[in-house]
Symmetry: C2
Subunit: 272 residues, 2 copies
């Protein structure tokens, strides 16, 4: 098992932000990444559709012999973690609980905000995860449907992006002006973090802490591998294999999230 790769999937290329964090924490581990780019986004679709797609992604990665499954997509984590854990025997790590833990580690006021897709926000997954970890924390959530297309358009430092961030963060501040920590509850959002951070300071009138799931997910992967004796014994740098269901714009978008050029990718077809 130690020599087997880790499996990571996402609706698209945003999950490469999680791959980046895992490779930083566990450079020797090999990774199999699957981006379901032919059916993205998951964030606007129903829980049933997202669960069905997630199971298909997981079956593909299990077929590649992965020893552990990382659900990089927050929407898939919100809708499909239960079905995935029931269906497969490998450890399954989602995005929501690590994001909630990061928020609790960061907050001083116990007032946390969460930004996410429509699907993630409507699921109530972050409220549930935070309440389970600390019943005293107060959580305010807000759906931000335009942030993913803005990140993909590459308008990361742009007056239009600032205007949209001002709208969304203003609506969040209206729900709770005492928030001191915001969870970026979608794998696309970390590349908008600088603009969100500046606009949040302006809207709330003070510095806020922005956290995402990626670093906490990598820490959880490391902890599970240590606890199960599953970490690779090989030295050097592990291999990264990237599979996508649609190749359109991968060469353009993937490096933005991975933080380095993507050596190669291959095109795969998933079962319904």
């Amino acid at each position: 098992m130690q020599a087997q790769p880790l499996g990571v999937f996402d609706s698209g290329v945003g999950g490469l932000t999680v791959v980046r964090a895992i490779r930083r924490a566990l450079p020797a581990e090999s990774l199999e990444y699957l981006g379901d780019t032919a059916r993205l986004p998951y964030g606007s679709k129903s829980p049933e559709t997202v669960a069905r797609y997630s199971l298909a992604c997981a079956r593909f990665l299990l077929g590649r012999g992965v020893k552990l499954l990382v659900v990089a997509c927050n929407t898939a984590s919100a809708h499909a973690l239960g079905p995935l854990r029931a269906a497969f025997s490998v450890p399954v790590i989602g995005a929501v609980e690590p994001g909630a833990k990061s928020a609790l580690a960061a907050t001083r006021s116990g007032r946390v905000g969460v930004l996410g897709t429509l699907g993630t926000i409507r699921s109530g997954a972050y409220e549930a995860a935070l309440a389970a970890l600390d019943a005293g924390v107060r959580v305010s959530v807000h759906a931000c449907p335009l942030l993913v297309p803005l990140a993909e358009e590459g308008w990361t430092d742009d007056e239009i992006t600032r205007a949209i961030a001002r709208r969304y963060l203003g609506e969040l501040a209206a729900k709770d002006p005492a928030i001191d920590t915001i969870v970026l509850g979608c794998t696309h959002y970390p590349i908008l973090a600088p603009v969100l951070e500046r606009v949040a300071a302006e809207v709330f009138g003070r510095e806020l802490r922005l956290v995402d799931s990626a670093t906490a997910m990598a820490a959880e992967v490391a902890a599970v591998l240590a606890a199960t004796g599953g970490a690779t014994q090989a030295g050097g740098t592990g291999r990264l294999a990237c599979h996508v269901t649609d190749a359109s714009r991968i060469d353009e978008l993937a490096p933005r999230f991975l933080g380095e050029p993507l050596a190669a990718h291959d095109l795969v077809e998933l079962a319904l």
Copy 2:
């Protein structure tokens, strides 16, 4: 054949703008509509994926006994019209040629602009269709990836939408400031027509004509039915059956495009 319904498909609910035009022109015809909402959008995906999805949509509608197929989605029309016509014996009407005809009927200067999805613009389909109809027309095209999410967010009369329209139309005007007619080359864009019209007047310094494919497509459906003797002989109002592959947000979004409440929809699963 006369009693059979017409079939219309789109990647989502935007194609209901075409249904609306067909029902206005041909109220007695029954319609089977399919929105592939579980796999939308098509506009950012590869020609191969879009063609594969389009064939699956068409097979579903043919299975419902449609006498004619309308490809409401511009991206699907750009990538899949040839394969669809080769695969099926019913008449197939796309969005691009009717849109091109509408533009030629409207332009005085012979300088036409086209706004569309990445897929439609990269396909070159509008340039080809316009050149085939009139070799003298000059065509400038521009991809507008944020317009679909803005239309779905419902920000149709909004300062942010105006700022984004100003950006895209400014980039189009830089390509050809003499444009007098703009084709809205995506089924989502007609609900942004008022803001696009106002901003175009501001950017170009004069009124422009905005045309879309819907009315011209309805006229082409009427012409084909007349030529083939396929029009229904029934009076009254035809039936509209709406099928979707994901039910999320249909009740909220469909009326915006159809212009009236949607009586009902059912959820279907398509083959790969």
